[in-house]
């Protein structure tokens, strides 16, 4: 049983310690410092902020959105005339 306890408590210490170290590292290297810019770090020149980066194959998003907008406007107009 002694080996069992050694593994269990050794692991608790190791994992707990590493989590504490990760938190310390993050706090001291400025990972929690600039949240606004950090959230935008996944965007760039080639996949810029504000642009949709995935659509169905062969679909032109701008056309689709314009069509949906026109449809909405028409429905609204229909409601008013009713």
């Amino acid at each position: 049983m002694i080996v069992f306890y050694c593994i269990v408590f050794g692991m608790i210490t190791f994992i707990g310690g590493s989590a504490l170290y990760a938190f310390y590292w993050a706090a001291t290297t400025g990972q929690f410092a600039d949240f606004e810019n950090s959230a935008e770090s996944i965007f760039g020149d080639d996949e810029p902020l504000g642009e949709v980066s995935d659509v169905y194959p062969g679909m032109n998003l701008e056309e689709e959105l314009a069509r949906a907008e026109a449809k909405r406007a028409e429905a609204k107009k229909g409601n008013i005339t009713k």
């Binding site: 049983m1 080996v3 069992f4 593994i7 269990v8 692991m11 994992i15 590493s18 989590a19 990760a22 938190f23 993050a26 990972q31 929690f32 600039d34 949240f35 606004e36 810019n37 950090s38 959230a39 935008e40 770090s41 996944i42 965007f43 760039g44 020149d45 080639d46 996949e47 810029p48 902020l49 504000g50 642009e51 949709v52 980066s53 995935d54 659509v55 169905y56 194959p57 062969g58 679909m59 998003l61 689709e64 959105l65 949906a68």
Partner: protein, 500 residues
């Protein structure tokens, strides 16, 4: 190790904010994607094959629940290897270690490369780890089917298979640390936190469980009540400290990326990460409510399970508010559709899980099909759907070609979504009825079993829908791999930067 990345020189008229990857002297995303091509496609291709095998095994196991005579033998030849007792663990391990793990690691490799801002390091090593892992899963599955499986849930693979699997995890884990150390980005994005934690946690979980339960190294495996505790410590943490981090890392990357808007609250995303890390490891013992284990372990686990409401709500609120005003895009983006479905299923399954850990509810749901419904909305509704979404985003960028058919994507989505919702519905309702009746001493066991049969047939129907969905997806995926590159334009293939 790291270099400054948020420099004002990187901005141009169209890009409001700075870039993580300055254009001069640094690798572009296109180069990163190209470097990931072969390893990630090896992982994805084998994952899709395992998905088909796992679906068929699951469908057959489900069918045998209401028609036990199915495929027990043919022409006097006994199909012992297709017994329910073997194909059920084979299904679990194939979809868990085969499909979900391999697709998850494939996605994680691509995400690690992108978030580290470097081309993939040691692609050959990563590919070799993938091949070794697949040999492990193949030999383990055959081992279960020929009757060499262990009787410990989630660890049924025989030792010769687990050794290869552990080695492959270890290689990928070390590779991930190397990628992290060599990143060119200054900030560690929240997805990378989840990924690094997952890569760190899982080999530890897997290795420890193997040593304590299956004893490859020493002669004192845990037995009795301790065996149950260690088993569920592993079984539940494999879901929460491995699949959940990879699924959430993907969702935290894909949702903002597709809609072109950063995560609404980056604060919340970090609170979600650290509370997950703190509470999840305690959850496993809620499987042992009412069992012969020390009460404090179960109580601590119930408390931690309910505390999981915090990380789950932070993720759910964050994703919802990020999507606010962009829900119409679900109509136009396959990736977004799958990932948002997955994110919603994550909220549902997690809150349901917290509820099921409360002893008052657990006394009805425990040992019923209700739990099976919960497991499927988690590993399928959440994780698998997020992986499908990720693959719809990543594969075109790796092969340089758009998906061939919008219709096939639609069929895949609707069959998968309807199939999993049907499965969740019938198992939840049927399981609850089963649980209520089991607690009523005036009912005998065989009557209750009869009552569950229509619900189990419903489950088989949903399994058939999912299997067809997977066949459609596999066909489409193979078209992407084997058909010649057609090129094309659109946001999938970096056509935009040239026009700026």
């Amino acid at each position: 190790m790291s270099s400054a990345t948020f420099t004002s020189e990187d901005t141009d008229k169209t890009v409001v904010n700075s870039s993580a990857f300055p254009s001069e002297g640094k690798v572009t995303r296109q180069e990163i994607d190209a470097s990931c091509g072969i390893p990630v496609l090896v992982f994805y291709t084998t994952a899709v094959i395992w998905l088909l095998v796992g679906s068929l095994l699951g469908f057959l196991a489900s069918f045998k629940m209401h028609d036990p005579q199915t495929l027990t033998g043919l022409f006097g030849i006994d199909f012992g290897w297709l017994n329910f007792g073997r194909i059920r663990p084979a299904h679990l391990n194939v979809v868990g270690y085969g499909w979900a793990n391999i697709a998850g690691v494939g996605t994680a490799i691509w995400l690690m490369a992108r978030l580290s801002g470097t081309t993939l390091r040691y692609p050959l090593l990563v590919t070799a780890a993938g091949v070794l892992y697949n040999i492990g899963v193949l030999s383990g599955t055959i081992g279960i089917l020929i009757g060499q499986g262990n009787s410990i849930e989630w660890l049924e693979f025989p030792p010769y298979a687990t050794f290869m699997i552990f080695l492959a995890y270890a290689i990928i884990g070390i590779w991930a640390v190397d990628m992290f150390m060599n990143r060119t980005t200054k900030h560690v994005y929240v997805s990378q936190w989840y990924l690094m934690a997952g890569f760190f946690w899982f080999p530890w979980l897997y290795g420890t469980a193997q040593i304590l339960l299956l004893d490859p190294l020493w002669s004192e495996p845990a037995s009795g009540a301790v065996q149950g505790i260690v088993n569920w410590w592993y079984g539940h943490n494999a879901l929460g400290l491995w699949f959940t981090p990879i699924g959430l890392a993907t969702a935290y990357y894909m949702i903002p990326k597709v809609i072109g808007r950063p995560v609404h609250s980056y604060h919340l995303s970090f609170i979600g990460f650290w509370t997950l890390a703190f509470f999840y490891a305690w959850n496993g013992a809620h499987h042992l409510i009412g069992g012969p284990v020390p009460a404090w372990i179960v109580t601590a686990s119930v408390v931690a399970s309910v505390m999981m409401v915090i990380p789950v709500c932070t993720v759910a609120i964050n994703h919802h508010i990020t999507m606010k005003g962009h829900f119409h895009l679900l109509k136009y983006s396959p990736t977004l559709r799958f990932v948002v479905f997955g994110a919603m299923a994550y909220t549902l399954t997690s809150l349901q899980g917290s509820m099921m850990a409360v002893p008052y509810i657990n006394k009805t749901t425990h040992f019923t099909h209700y739990t099976v419904g919960h497991a499927h909305i988690g590993l399928y509704g959440f994780f698998t759907m997020v992986m499908f979404g990720a693959m719809y985003y990543i594969v075109p960028r790796l092969v340089g070609s758009e998906w061939k058919s919008a219709r096939l994507i639609n069929i895949h989505f609707w069959l998968s979504a309807a199939g999993i919702l049907l499965m969740f519905g019938v198992l939840t309702l049927g399981g609850w009825i089963q649980g209520v009746l089991l607690n009523d001493a005036s009912w005998n066991f065989s009557e209750i079993t009869q009552i569950t049969i229509p619900w189990l047939r419903g489950r088989s129907l949903s399994g058939a829908m999912l299997t067809i969905a997977h066949l459609v997806f596999a066909f489409h995926f193979m078209l992407m791999i084997f058909s010649p590159v057609t090129g094309g334009k659109g946001p999938m293939l970096f056509a935009k930067p040239e026009t700026k």
